[in-house]
């Protein structure tokens, strides 16, 4: 399992780093008075190159370990199929989705409404199905949302998005 994780991580880092190195060409070096021998391109290129070497090393390590495990005929006893993996991490995926929608709609809808909706959704996601109490989570969501708005916006004078309804 670790070997496959290493190969996948290495690949992701290598692909990301390729983009990083590609966009280094858009960095315009400073050529005016006071320029340094090492330009503003040097460090990005250094970090990018180092990352590429490390990513490839990680991939290689993963491949060697995978071959070794295959040679020893080691079976991965707890490997899950992609569908089962999505089911197992359902709460995490949904939590990230809910957080994404919260931030996306925050400025459009407004702090109080979106925070209340987010809290209701997230509280229930973090609760096992058999223990969910929708009425309590709704009450907590609305109450906490208004309380936070009063504390931060009214008491501490921190600007919070108002949205189309003005709050």
């Amino acid at each position: 399992m670790n070997s496959k994780k290493d190969i996948l991580s290495g690949l992701v880092f290598a692909i990301g780093d390729s983009f990083y190195l590609y966009f280094c060409k858009d960095i315009v070096p400073f050529t005016g008075k006071g320029t340094t021998p090492l330009t503003n391109q040097f460090m990005p290129l250094l970090w990018g190159s180092l990352m590429m070497v490390l990513s490839l090393t990680l991939i290689l390590r993963g491949v060697c370990q995978l071959r070794k495990d295959a040679g020893e005929q080691k079976r991965e006893s707890s490997e899950l199929s992609p569908t089962r993996r999505i089911v197992e991490y359902r709460e995490v995926i949904l939590s990230f989705f809910v957080l994404f929608m919260y931030i996306f709609l925050l400025e459009k809808i407004g702090f109080i409404i979106m925070t209340a909706l987010f809290l209701v959704a997230e509280i229930n996601l973090l609760t096992p199905k058999e223990k969910r109490n929708y009425i309590l989570s709704l009450a907590v969501g609305i109450g906490v949302s208004i309380l936070l708005y009063c504390i931060f916006n009214k008491a501490l004078h921190i600007l919070l998005p108002t949205g189309i309804f003005g709050f």
């Binding site: 994780k5 320029t35 021998p37 990005p44 970090w47 990230f96 957080l99 400025e107 973090l126 096992p128």
Partner: protein, 500 residues
């Protein structure tokens, strides 16, 4: 300066109230497994925006001290460390509780947490100004070498996998290159987005990495959560005898020094110091076989060390601008928000505020001991608060914290993005500490390396002794860990050959 600092704290009733509240809230966060001192600082940072600098930073340090100390409650009563800094407290704390000595275990842990914090802060007050006075003489050569040394330490000591540690650190450095380049202000990786001109801010990065990942880790275990029973315990007096106290003085002093040393080394922190100190105490004890069966020596070692680490971690933070651990990295964000630049000039520019913070920390340590000894039964009740509600509110406060600093929704997206990245990297076995240090030190390395490239034609690096010391130290640390990794690899290979 010292007198001014003392008066800044003790003549302002609001500051005293904030310190008391911060300590109590920190203890609560530390006590509840899954909530940490770092998360407490993340969440309450926005509350400090309208405060004066001394008030705000005193509150944050009170949260830090309370948070590190609070972990002992669940460690002893539930065998679940409230924070990573209390892992070793479980080893003897829980057996003591099972033997009906829970009150004694808690009393010992609280008193020696105070002693560890006190020793750490005393050393901080002495060593930080000394180190700052030396660091003032640092030039680009020394800063460049020191930053690279700090990064190498983090990479080699922070995790088991050196390649992943290095990748994490380099990724942090790469993230730090986004924005206007230092020295010449040419845009890099901004893609025409003006929000990226100033690069990624420290707060969204830290909030995403620390807070969002904790919530998502809880989310992944929602259906596997076990219900736990909490023993009701009340401490009478200190819970242990004066003879037992005097018998632990040497153990406490050694543990404090271990904690202080670990705290000074960047990127490590209380999560390592408590375990290391426990190991040292056990190996140097006359009765090592009793460790793990329920003796106070183990608790003293763990709690003294993890609290001494607080003072230790603040030393490089204040004197050099290099945080000693993740929590002090978060504190660094707090300093910046209140307009205080950490580094060698902090004592010259903001001396009275810094000494005020020292006195605030001493007060917080004292209050921590008082609150925990007198109010333990109330803190135990807190353990029963459902985390699904708490953590959902935590996420909301994270978003508010990110937006509140700059009034830009872009920073909330930063929290989301870094949270997602950190969660996936954690699952793939990458440590986040090297990434944070890389992010913090990347610009320092670049600025000073480019300045060195200008100066090298006129100044020989061999004329800078500290530069040579740091460079040799870096080579030694990296060489030692490569040697260690190769030795382990050879040992494993020869073991496999023998088995075949």
């Amino acid at each position: 300066m010292i007198q001014e600092g003392f008066l800044t704290v003790f003549s302002d009733p609001l500051t005293l109230i904030f310190i008391a509240l911060g300590t109590i809230i920190g203890i609560i966060f530390g006590a509840i497994p899954g909530l940490t001192a770092t998360m407490a600082i993340v969440i309450f940072l926005p509350f400090t925006y309208p405060m004066l600098a001394t008030q705000g930073i005193s509150t944050l340090t009170a949260l830090y001290i309370g948070g590190i100390s609070g972990g002992l409650i669940s460690a002893i009563l539930l065998n679940i460390p409230g924070t990573p800094s209390s892992v070793a407290t479980c080893f003897d704390g829980r057996p003591m509780a099972q033997k009906g000595q829970g009150a004694k275990a808690l009393g010992v842990a609280v008193v020696f947490s105070f002693i560890g914090t006190f020793i750490g802060i005393m050393c901080l007050m002495v060593l930080a100004p000394l180190l700052a006075s030396v660091a003032i003489k640092f030039g680009p050569f020394e800063y460049c070498a020191l930053s690279v040394f700090a990064l190498s330490l983090v990479v080699t000591l922070a995790g088991k996998d050196m390649i992943k540690g290095l990748m994490s650190a380099v990724l942090g450095c790469m993230i730090a290159t986004v924005g206007l380049a230092p020295l010449d202000s040419k845009p890099r990786f901004t893609f025409g987005n003006f929000n990226l001109n100033t690069g990624f801010k420290l707060l969204p990065v830290l909030i995403g990495i620390f807070a969002i990942t904790e919530v998502m880790n809880y989310a992944s275990e929602v259906n596997k959560q076990k219900k736990f029973e909490v023993d009701e315990v009340e401490i009478k007096g200190f819970g242990f005898t004066f003879q037992e106290f005097t018998g632990q003085i040497k153990n406490a002093f050694v543990s404090a020094m271990v904690g202080l040393g670990i705290g000074i080394l960047p990127g490590i922190g209380g999560s390592v110091s408590n375990v290391l100190s426990y190991t040292v105490s056990k190996n140097t004890s006359k009765h090592p076989e009793k460790y793990g069966t329920g003796i106070i020596d183990g608790i003293v070692a763990s709690e003294t060390a993890n609290n001494a680490t607080i003072g230790g971690a603040m030393i490089p933070l204040l004197a050099l601008g290099i945080p000693g651990d993740g929590t002090s990295a978060m504190l660094m964000g707090g300093f910046l928000i209140h307009g205080i630049s950490v580094g060698p000039l902090i004592f010259e520019k903001s001396g009275s505020i810094v000494y005020g913070i020292f006195f605030a920390m001493l007060l917080s340590a004292f209050l921590m001991a008082v609150f925990m000894l007198l109010g333990m039964k109330w803190f135990i009740k807190i353990l029963k608060v459902p985390k699904n509600y708490l953590l959902s509110i935590v996420v909301t406060l994270c978003v508010i914290g990110a937006i509140g600093d700059s009034n830009l929704l872009f920073d909330a997206w930063g929290v989301f993005g870094f949270g997602l990245m950190a969660y996936l990297m954690n699952k793939a076995g990458f440590s986040m500490t090297p990434l944070i240090l890389g992010f913090l030190l990347g610009e320092t390395v670049e600025v000073n390396l480019r300045r060195v490239s200008q100066l090298i034609s006129t100044t020989s690096p061999f004329s800078r002794p500290l530069f040579l010391v740091f460079t040799l130290a870096t080579i030694s640390v990296l060489g030692y860990s490569v040697y260690g990794a190769l030795s382990r690899h050879i040992t494993i290979k020869s073991k496999e050959k023998r088995e075949k």
